[in-house]
């Protein structure tokens, strides 16, 4: 059963995505800030990471760089999940190795589940 790590400080939204993923048979782990998200990625070795851009401690793109620089986590596909869609942020995320940049307000939980299925099929763990 594939495991998805959700890194987001919005507890309500995490609950929503966790429930949607669980209903489709995925395991989920969560972290509410960038640093603990990075640590959980190393300890849990998820199949995929959904990473928010605005976190209380460090910005999402910075967490992404940490994940891609770390040998234990560099091959885990990371999709950004954010309400901020400024060009510079999207470009920064894609350049740093994100497989997708999803705008939260444009998608339903089922759309995210569908995208995750596609990402994992394309080469996730």
């Amino acid at each position: 059963m594939a495991k998805v790590l959700l890194i987001d400080d919005d507890q309500a939204l995490i609950s929503v995505f966790q429930t949607a993923l669980k209903n489709e048979g995925y395991q989920t782990v969560v972290a509410f800030d960038g640093k603990s998200g990075f640590e959980r990625a190393k300890s849990e070795k998820p199949s995929l990471i959904l990473l928010d851009q605005v976190l209380p401690d460090i910005q999402g793109n910075e967490v992404l760089k940490l994940l891609k620089d770390e040998p234990q986590t560099k091959d885990i596909p990371v999709a950004m999940l954010s309400n901020f869609g400024q060009d510079q942020l999207i470009k920064g995320a894609i350049n740093a190795g994100a497989v997708d940049y999803i705008l939260k307000y444009q998608v339903e939980p089922q759309d995210v589940v569908h995208k995750i299925k596609g990402m994992l099929k394309d080469g996730g763990a």
């Binding site: 507890q11 929503v16 605005v54």
Partner: protein, 369 residues
């Protein structure tokens, strides 16, 4: 005999004599003095000879030019490489029409540059410092981004929870969780809209509080209770300490003071990592005049020193800059602290913040009894 009509000639005002004309040399001196004393930066370029017949002191200062008689090349070098002065001059002189105003940045200042033809071979270049307007524009854009985010976040959760309920695959526990999310996030959305209305009232000087004898112990306990589930989720210890000398009731606006405490605790929860602690402490000062002081202390990420003095400002948010582009500023916590300050000041009180980056923050207010 016919009637002869005579049209009375209108009496015309006497024409004043022409003013004595200034000698040519004095006219030029006057023009030059006006040019040199302009608040605008200005210089004139002769495009035929590629020379700089006039450059006023304001332009020299704006461009950072030290030389006493600078050349056109030195002016071109002083301008940012993205601004093609020669092209702008050529177009203005050829069309004999002013060019479109362009914006340039020099040494962290922003200028509006316009090129105006003054003859068939020369054009004047005018520089206007718009640094303040540009920063206001940025503040406005940041504010809009922030408000859009603050409104979108709860809406996204509500929409998502509704979709899960619609799919009807969830357990009873998840069903209840989604209903709870819809209720909480709807309230959050309402609170955001209320903040915007509060801001409008503050701007219109129509912000009022309604003081009534209020149970402070109950107020503080209720705030701690409301945020307890979130704190537990994040493995943060949230406790309330109420001093024994607090009277049964204190005259204050309980809804507004509740709003202030909600904002303090909400910010602490947001910026305190898992495993941390938040304490709400209410006490009465020993010195006279007696004051009620309420502190919210956390072991969170803290606030950088350079942002602390601006944190209660209307449009200042503790946000994040990105390494990719320092101009991409992600807004932070929003209007809450600005409105909190207005509430406390309406109570004739003071608000205070002590923070150490990486160690934590204590935010507090004191109001007279």
């Amino acid at each position: 005999m016919g009637i002869i009509f005579f049209k009375r000639k209108k009496k015309e005002a006497p024409v004043p004599p022409p003013p004595p004309s200034l000698p040519a040399a004095s006219s030029e001196k006057l023009a030059l003095a006006s040019f040199n004393n302009l608040l605008l930066g200005a210089f004139v370029v002769n495009t035929q000879t590629n020379t700089l017949p006039l450059l006023n002191p304001t332009a020299k200062r704006m461009l950072g030019i030290q030389a006493a008689t600078p050349s056109l090349a030195s002016v071109i070098n002083a301008l940012p490489p993205t601004y093609d002065l020669q092209k702008q001059l050529k177009e203005a002189v050829a069309s004999q029409k002013p060019g479109d105003e362009k914006e340039i940045t020099l040494e962290e200042k922003t200028f509006a540059v316009s090129v105006v033809p003054v003859s068939t071979v020369s054009a004047a270049v005018l520089l206007r410092d718009i640094t303040f307007e540009a920063s206001l524009q940025k503040v406005k854009e940041d504010f809009i981004h922030m408000m859009v985010h603050e409104l979108r976040a709860p809406l996204t959760a509500i929409k998502g929870a509704a979709q899960i309920l619609e799919k009807d695959k969830s357990s009873k526990q998840d069903f209840n969780k989604m209903i709870s999310i819809i209720q909480e996030q709807s309230k959050k959305l309402l609170d955001q809209v209320s903040s915007l209305l509060d801001l409008a009232k503050i701007e219109a000087s129509r912000f009022v509080i309604q003081k009534t004898p209020s149970d402070v112990k109950k107020l503080v306990s209720q705030v701690a209770e409301v945020f307890q589930p979130q704190a537990v989720n994040k493995s943060i210890a949230l406790t309330a300490k109420i001093g024994s000398s607090i009277p049964l009731t204190v005259v204050l606006d309980p809804i507004r003071i509740g709003q202030v405490l909600n904002n303090f605790v909400s910010n602490s929860l947001k910026f305190t990592p898992a495993g941390g602690a938040i304490t709400i402490e209410a006490s009465i000062s020993k010195e006279t005049p007696k004051k009620l002081t309420v502190k919210v202390k956390d072991t969170g990420v803290g606030i950088p020193k350079e942002k602390q003095k601006e944190i209660f400002s209307k449009f200042y948010q503790v946000g994040q800059k990105t390494d990719d582009d320092p101009n991409t500023h992600i807004p932070g916590t929003g209007l809450g602290l600005y409105i909190a300050k207005q509430i406390i000041e309406a109570h004739k009180g003071t608000i205070d913040l002590v923070s150490d980056e990486g160690k934590g923050t204590t935010i507090s207010f004191s109001i007279p009894l």
